[in-house]
Symmetry: C2
Subunit: 209 residues, 2 copies
């Protein structure tokens, strides 16, 4: 479980403040997660998410004090961009990034919960499809939804996926799922806090691509 | 025809030497070409091509004298990387980039030649499909080929595409095609020279993604 557990997300403070620097450090380990899916077909997704992270980091580094928390970034950009906001800057990048984070969360949670296709227990299509339907599908037009269905065929077997997430450590499926559950605690709290922030600041958009 | 004709490729010298700096300057104007296709679906392609250009530029800038021509880059990398070559460095980036360049060439040539779907003369699917079949299809596995077919549905109308390539200048279709033919002269010679170089240096690979 090296990939995920060596880079666990930190516990959030009681007031749910999201420290920008810690957040960037934690999420920077996630793009390689898409390599665990095992096919070059998924590299555009990895690029999209890496691009979001780079965009947020670019804003942060312009003024690490002013942008010390993710909340401060959204508030400062709302001020700065007026009516263009929230479809702009790090606010837009984090809006999409959080959907990719939620996708990963639901996929891992579904695996940790033992949800499976009883006739094909070593496939993870049912878990990926659940994650897609609960997060991204509504933001994708018909063509991208069709592309998703085709890309799904390239999804790895569960055993290969769990091995890849564990970075080749030999580990039993059950031990792997225990580790997943451990990772999901702080990770889920972080993703929830970002979603809550978008709701509270009225920063969410529902256009589709 | 602003987009293409303002940034025409230079005429090649008689010995077909490919000056790296001039080449990089000319191709840097091509990624926006994919925006002319009008849909976000094509942005992963734009990223892939931009990535190739960045990779080649990175090598060039390490030593502009040593890497003054594209031929010199391939020869130096062959020397440097041994058996890893040619699936490495700027050699690999240019191997893929040239396929994207050829794709654009054949698409534009097919339009310039007036090739059309007689029952749907304002669609360019027939031109895009020809370009795909003659360049990339053989390097794509079944899944990516299916994704191509789906993405094709998002292709723009010919009239919109020609207007976009002309950067919004109001121009008659025939005038646009005259400009295309003009652009294609040096462009095609450059792409041909790169293909010839890969053959001469035995640098071509045929694995698929
Ligand atoms: C040669 C033939 C090829 C033909 C071409 C085929 C092309 C296929 C296209 C597939 C789409 C790839 C995924 C990328 C989708 C992206 O379009 C969206 C929106 O992307 C956002 O757009 C914003 C502007 O609206 C900003 O630019 C954001 O950028 S900004 O940073 O600048 O603000 C950017 O992230 N991101 C998304 O939908 C997020 C995707 C997350 C993915 C999560 C996992 C899904 C896993 C699926 C597993 C089965
Ligand atoms: C949420 C749901 C989403 C699910 C995910 C969907 C993902 C869809 C995937 C579609 C593929 C996008 C196109 C990119 C394909 C690329 O995989 C290939 C090879 O790419 C090369 O690979 C090398 C290693 O083998 C190096 O990394 C090269 O990089 S290096 O610089 O590092 O050496 C890199 O260019 N390039 C290509 O095939 C080139 C593509 C050129 C395209 C030309 C125009 C086609 C136009 C079509 C119009 C209809």
């Amino acid at each position: 479980m090296a990939l995920l557990l060596d880079n666990e997300f930190k516990e959030l403070p009681a007031d749910k403040t999201l420290d920008t620097k810690l957040f960037l450090e934690s999420v920077s380990h996630l793009p390689p997660f898409f390599d665990c899916l095992g096919s070059k077909v998924f590299s555009p997704i990895k690029s999209d998410i890496s691009g979001n992270i780079t965009k947020i980091r670019g804003v942060y580094e312009k003024d690490p004090v002013k942008y010390a928390t993710l909340q401060k970034i959204l508030e400062a950009e709302k001020e700065e961009y007026g009516t263009e906001w929230p479809k702009v800057g790090a606010t837009l990048a984090l809006m999409w990034l959080k959907r990719g984070l939620r996708f990963i969360q639901i996929l891992l949670q579904s695996l940790a919960d033992g949800e499976k296709d009883e006739t094909n227990p070593n496939l993870i299509r049912v878990n990926i499809t659940r994650a897609y339907e609960e997060t991204l599908k509504r933001y994708h037009g018909w063509i991208v939804q069709q592309i998703f269905k085709t890309a799904l065929i390239a999804a790895p077997y569960k055993s290969d996926f769990l091995k890849a997430v564990s970075k080749g450590e030999v580990i039993q499926e059950e031990a792997c799922l225990v580790n997943l559950r451990q990772f999901l605690v702080n990770y889920t709290a972080t993703v929830d806090a970002i979603y809550d922030m978008y709701t509270a600041l009225n920063a969410e958009l529902d256009y589709s691509v």
